[in-house]
């Protein structure tokens, strides 16, 4: 009897012991999971995941959806039939009441968002509860254009990466938000700064720069993702920037250049490449098959005063392709040579199959220009296949700026501003958000001011003229505008297309709306308490699809500021 009791006791002890052990093990796991996700410790973003993002209906891994930057999300739980039932799932308030331009990144149920002035938050994507909060220690010199914005992190491996207003690249531990390393990208005193999200690929972090308003020398840089060491630099203004002396822009209009005077000035002043501008404002598209990086380059410095920078000002206002491994030049196409209107190339390029002019399908590159056209290129040599019908009014284009100012449309914000487009590849349509914002362009001779704002004149909004915006759908195989929705105010932020047949975009007045991608019919709307001027994203947690967007307003167009991240799902 003693024996049995003993063994019962032993058994009991064993069972309790095991249970305790199991419970403890469970607790430890639960603790890690609290800092991690419901799907185990799957916080590591692999290159394979990034390469397959276009078909990933759980995560949102890239600023613009995938390496092709299609902003086409493959989930269709939310679709044209039920989007009317979309309701607020949760709201997160950040500490920073200032414009939000972040694209939320979601990795296995963990969401990363950034704010103005470089805060990063990690949130539980299902509940909206904070996991961690990082505040960048900003240096005293921040020289940026158009607001202290940030467009988001890139998650890669076990880290998240962000560019900062004081021109640094920081790497944070994705689980804890601790700073792992930071690299100084360039000297902020000279006008360099970052508002873009970086792009990670093949062990490299790629990033461009702000500064076209400050006389920088623009670039794309590649950093080692583990160490922060600089791997290569592509300078967007080559030492011979004069080019071919083009007299017409990509749409065939005369740019009113005085080539003779410019050639004489070039002889006298020398090549202006050192302070020529050419920032790269946004993420690059990457063709994984050919190892090619595609990006668009911003305006020359100073924006309005061209006489001090004779020549075509390569590669400003251009689509450029470089080799991913080395950063070596592959091809380019310049939209506007010797631009004096700041109608630069900023909306990120999209890679997709397009129809060429002989009806054959080829690899193509799309770009929505500040000029208000969608440009369609061959990916292999950057040649222009076609440009679309204009999405916005073209008035007096081109007219040279004068001291007293000349009116022209598009205004200097476009067209299409930095807002990324989205495509629906099944419909071969691309969606752009536009501005109708009449401005006068003023020019004033100004020497290089050593890192201060250098516009060479001024842009003025015409106060008593009406402004509005558009959402425009363009067939990129024909260039036709398929539908257009007019909005109350000029649009800035971004758009998301989904396999549910929808496009989502927000407005400065707080309306966040869903439209039928085929017809442009308004299917759903929700009023936020601040301007919705950030690119939306989508993700799936626990079998539920969410749409998420930042609502913080905008500095450039002075839309109502806020601090909210809004997530939506279908109601019951």
């Amino acid at each position: 009897m003693m024996g049995i009791t003993k063994s019962k006791k032993l058994l009991f002890t064993l069972i309790i012991g095991s249970s305790t052990a199991l419970y403890s093990a469970g607790s430890i796991h639960a603790q890690e999971v609290e800092g991690g996700t419901l799907y185990g410790d799957m916080l590591t973003v692999t290159q394979d995941m990034l390469d397959h993002a276009a078909g990933d209906a759980n995560n949102f891994l890239h600023t613009n959806g995938n390496y092709n930057q299609t902003r086409y999300y493959p989930a269709h739980q939310i679709n044209v039939h039920n989007v009317g039932d979309l309701e607020r799932a949760w709201t997160f308030e950040t500490e920073v009441v200032e414009s939000m331009e972040t694209t939320p990144i979601v990795v296995n149920g963990v969401m990363y968002v950034t704010t103005s002035f470089n805060h990063v938050y990690a949130l539980n994507a299902e509940s909206g509860k904070q996991i961690w909060h990082f505040k960048h220690k900003m240096g005293p010199i921040t020289t940026y254009c158009c607001g202290p914005n940030n467009r988001g992190v890139f998650a890669y491996g076990d880290k998240v990466y962000m560019g900062t207003l004081d021109a640094k690249l920081v790497a944070l531990n994705a689980k804890t938000g601790e700073l792992e390393w930071e690299s100084q990208i360039a000297d902020p005193e000279l006008g360099y700064s970052e508002t873009m999200a970086p792009t990670a690929v093949d062990g490299k972090i790629l990033i461009g720069t702000n500064g076209g308003e400050y006389g920088i020398r623009g670039f794309v840089k590649a950093y080692d993702a583990d160490t922060g060491d600089l791997l290569w630099t592509f300078n967007t203004t080559p030492e011979n920037s004069a080019g071919v002396w083009a007299t017409e822009d990509a749409t065939g209009r005369d740019m009113l250049r005085d080539i003779k005077a410019e050639k004489a000035a070039l002889k006298e002043l020398g090549d202006p490449y050192r302070t020529l501008g050419g920032g790269v404002w946004q993420n690059m598209a990457i063709d994984r098959d050919s190892g090619t990086v595609y990006f668009v380059v911003g305006n020359p410095s100073p924006d309005l005063y061209g006489a001090i920078r004779p020549g075509d000002n390569l590669y400003t206002n251009s689509l450029v392709a470089v080799d991913l491994a080395t950063g070596n030049y592959k091809c380019h196409f310049q939209y506007i040579a010797h631009d004096v209107w700041d109608l630069d190339a900023v909306s990120p390029p999209i890679l997709t199959t397009v129809m060429n002019n002989r009806g054959k399908e080829v690899k193509g590159v799309l770009h929505g220009g500040k000029t208000g056209y969608v440009y369609v290129h061959r990916a292999d040599n950057c040649d222009l296949i076609r440009f679309s019908e204009p999405m916005v009014s073209q008035e007096n284009r081109w007219v040279l700026p004068t001291a007293d100012g000349e009116r022209m449309l598009p205004g200097a914000n476009g067209g299409v501003e930095w807002s990324p487009m989205a495509i629906n590849p099944k419909l071969h349509m691309t969606y752009a958000i536009n501005l109708h914002q009449p401005m006068t362009y003023h020019v004033e001779a100004t020497p290089y001011p050593g890192g201060k704002l250098w516009l060479g004149g001024a842009f003025k909004v015409i106060a008593d003229e009406q402004q509005w915006g558009n959402i425009t759908a363009v067939d990129y195989n024909t260039g036709q505008v398929k539908w257009k929705v007019k909005t109350q105010q000029p649009m800035i932020g971004g758009i998301l297309a989904t396999a549910g047949g929808l496009v989502f975009t927000g407005e400065g007045n707080g309306w966040f709306r869903a439209y039928n991608a085929k017809s442009g019919e308004l299917l759903w709307q929700h009023k936020a308490s601040a301007g919705v001027n950030a690119p939306p994203a989508s993700y799936n947690v626990g079998g539920t699809q969410y749409i998420v967007v930042g609502a913080g307003g905008n500095v450039q167009l002075n839309y109502k500021r806020g601090n909210e991240v809004l997530a939506f799902k279908l109601g019951n």
């Binding site: 500490e95 920073v96 009441v97 200032e98 103005s116 002035f117 900003m138 005293p140 010199i141 921040t142 020289t143 254009c145 158009c146 607001g147 202290p148 001291a403 007293d404 100012g405 006068t440 003023h442 020019v443 004033e444 100004t446 001011p449 201060k452 704002l453 250098w454 516009l455 060479g456 004149g457 001024a458 842009f459 003025k460 909004v461 015409i462 106060a463 307003g553 500095v555 450039q556 002075n558 500021r561 601090n563």
Partner: protein, 205 residues
């Protein structure tokens, strides 16, 4: 003799103690090296830079880098001013940075400036046309090289804009043609609007 000697030693000890005490106080003061300079700034710009005289701008709580750049520009003559020019010329870079840092860390004073609806409307129209918010931000608190304008002295703001317009102030190239494109009355309305702006920060860092 002995007494005098003792007195001398005591005095020496006493002064050593005082000196020692002052030194440790100074060691704790990161602005020790520029206290005297700060003192002379305050003669015009007020206690801690919270100027009460309209022609001398408030420095208390102004952006560090903006203040530093202005001192550099005064010294080089890029910004011409008969009072500040000579004063800044006497400063070295490190001194300028410390002075700028000191004033940037003080609190911006709240003065009561009034404006009427009409001036506000004119001011807001000009601000929208000039896209001022794009640099000075929504609450006009500025950032880094871009100065805070909200709640600055009316007379100083007015003079500044008119000086940019007439090109008697030249150290901000972005300002010239922009100011010149507005009428004086419009700029005065903007100054009134800005000086009356309170401290309600729309923008939190």
């Amino acid at each position: 003799m002995h007494g005098m000697y003792m007195t001398r030693i005591m005095s020496a000890l006493f002064f050593c103690l005082i000196a020692g005490y002052s030194q440790s106080e100074e060691a704790a003061d990161e602005f020790a090296a520029v206290r005297e300079i700060i003192g002379s700034c305050q003669v015009c710009h007020g206690e801690e830079g919270a100027s009460t005289q309209q022609q001398y701008p408030i420095l208390a709580g102004q952006e560090f880098y903006y203040l530093y750049v202005q001192l550099k520009d005064f010294k080089s003559g890029l910004r011409a001013d008969p009072i500040m020019g000579p004063l800044a010329s006497a400063l070295e870079k490190e001194q300028m940075q410390l002075v700028a840092q000191y004033f940037s860390e003080q609190s911006w004073p709240q003065y009561e400036y009034a404006t009427d609806d009409n001036q506000t409307n004119v001011g807001l129209t000009v601000i929208a046309a000039g896209q001022c918010v794009a640099c000075h931000l929504g609450a006009f608190h500025g950032n880094s090289r871009v100065p805070r304008l909200a709640g600055q002295h009316l007379e100083y703001l007015t003079k500044t804009m008119l000086d940019f317009k007439s090109k008697s102030r030249n150290n901000s190239p972005a300002k010239g043609s922009l100011m010149a494109s507005f009428g004086d009355e419009q700029l005065i309305a903007v100054a009134q609007y800005l000086s009356a702006l309170g401290d309600d920060s729309e923008s939190v860092r």
